[in-house]
Symmetry: C2
């Protein structure tokens, strides 16, 4: 056991794209759990786009990380010391340990991870927050019906890849948008998407239209920007749009140049009778058991597959995170910490 707690803190708020200078690796004393608490050792740290939001001071659905505070993040952690009867030493848990070696928890919100059921890293991906985001948003807001067309961007990532696979399971046509031929081939050959569109295409609107001959009934929105611009004209009447992320805008330092196109968006909402709804996974917290049971079953019977992109070493988390916002990862990005 290391004598020190390495932790990556927010050194400064980014202006635009985060850089390595926005993070600082520090060493602190390993904390001591009090009565009712446990000491957790981070085994794997999840890196996710929402963390860009936590680096900013702008009001959002969660408080920002303070300057000098450890970056927040989901982890798979192991209980090293326990003053809590429910979590004996050696227990593996899904926690919110942050970008650090050690954290202390009172047990609230922890979920035990059974490595006999699935690889522990899946608790951060297909069986964790990203998977549940896909499952709850698609089924509760998107409500895909047989033969409808479901479009999702960042489709090779942990959310998008599950959105497309669940859409297929529900009898819908799945069209994925991803960056580059390798990811696009993965979508159609390995995940069973009906079509894949490269967002780096010279003509994204044309390529997407060709991939969606019957228009779009569900657009699972996690990126915004140019992809959304290509989607909007293709949306069918009564289409649904779960909105869980806008990665393309996260690093923006100013609004795009004019004209102001928001009246166009509202006109589409009205004339096409769109339903657009923002959500975060915790809005559907009560669905977690159904999610684990159902997606766990689909993994077990082979109808859902997943891919992970594992980076070695906590010290490499900042660079990996910066790459995540640029789409450099291929699969769920996880840092192997210990």
């Amino acid at each position: 056991m290391a004598a020190k707690n390495r932790r990556i803190v927010l050194a400064a708020r980014p202006h635009g794209e985060p850089t390595l200078q926005n993070f600082r690796l520090e060493e602190a004393v390993v904390p001591t759990p009090r009565d009712g608490e446990i000491l957790l050792r981070t085994r794997w740290l999840s890196l996710d786009p929402y963390m860009r939001g936590r680096m900013s001071a702008a009001k959002s659905y969660a408080a920002p990380v303070g300057i000098g505070e450890p970056m927040t993040g989901g982890t798979v952690s192991e209980v090293m010391r326990s003053e809590h009867p429910d979590f004996p030493v050696g227990t593996l848990v899904q926690a919110f340990g942050g970008w650090q070696d050690y954290s202390v928890s009172d047990g609230k919100g922890l979920r035990k991870v059974d490595p006999a059921v699935a690889p522990p890293t899946t608790a951060l991906g297909v069986l964790g927050m990203p998977g549940m985001t896909a499952y709850t948003g698609l089924l509760n807001i998107g409500e895909p019906k047989p033969n409808e067309t479901v479009v999702v961007a960042a489709a090779a990532g942990p959310v998008g890849s599950l959105v497309g696979q669940i859409a297929r399971i529900k009898g819908a046509r799945a069209v994925g948008i991803a960056g580059g031929p390798e990811k696009c081939a993965y979508l159609t050959r390995e995940l069973g998407f009906d079509a894949a569109v490269d967002h780096r295409s010279d003509d994204l609107p044309g390529a997407l239209a060709a991939a969606c001959p019957n228009g779009i009934d569900v657009y699972f929105e996690n990126v915004g920007g140019a992809v959304f611009d290509a989607v909007l004209p293709l949306l069918n009447d009564f289409s649904r749009m779960p909105v869980c992320g806008l990665v393309a805008a996260y690093n923006a330092t100013e609004l795009p140049p004019g004209p102001d196109r928001s009246p166009l968006l509202m006109r589409a909402v009205l004339t096409k009778r769109l339903r657009m709804q923002g959500f975060i996974v915790w809005d559907f917290a009560s669905h977690i058991d159904a999610f684990e049971r159902e997606v766990g079953g689909w993994i077990a019977d082979g109808s859902v597959t997943y891919r992970e992109d594992v980076v070695e070493g906590l010290e490499n988390a900042p660079e990996a995170f910066i790459g995540l916002l640029k789409g450099r990862n291929f699969g769920k990005l996880v840092v192997h910490v210990a």
Copy 2:
């Protein structure tokens, strides 16, 4: 019975605000009903903002009126000749007769109007399409809960006034936005709104914020523009936004100047988890009996009141319609044709 059928046709598509030159009063032969048809005499013609959309060639939820064709519109009409067993001569019906003295119908979509139950003009207002728009959109999409705050613009009009009154019936706080002190006083003194805000105020955002100390939970969107800009920062998490009209944009000839604020709108959808849904009244056609029964009951017991603005003479419909888009009417605008 007049020997001629006066009708107002679309002479030219407007660029921006409609003018009298966009309309033309013609005389045609009174049509003759064939077997299974009836000849209808227009008694009252409804004028509604959606008609601006029908004057444009842009794709929407309904086909545009063709150049030289009579303007479309809801009417209360009387059966003058009948070749249809269900509609004897003298029957009063809610029809889609258009801006003309006479029309022929095969009976499809007609609803009989009983003048003993309510004044026939209400079939074009509080008990017609505008009333049902308010009722279905507010209850099915807005879903107001007790003590929530419901905001509606064009609140002295037939849709907005019923939205606010139903919100009150459901235990919510109703805040109406209207143009000028007379309409605002009407909202609070006669309709029971909790607060009224004049959109001509020097500081609409400040006035609206003062009227909504607990934020906004439901915004019934029928105007867009500056009102929506004032509403957006006040929307609470999980608020709902039925969208049935965007009057402020109907006469726009180009998009507003930049920057492009649509990313701000999408960010609000995401971080506040807004639900925004476009609808037109026919999407809820199956609710018509419940609507008539329930709103009829509220009128009967005095918990809903309404106001009509009756213009005399078909020939004055164009000018009245132009005024409608500028908010010159006060109450449901109806043309008394015969």
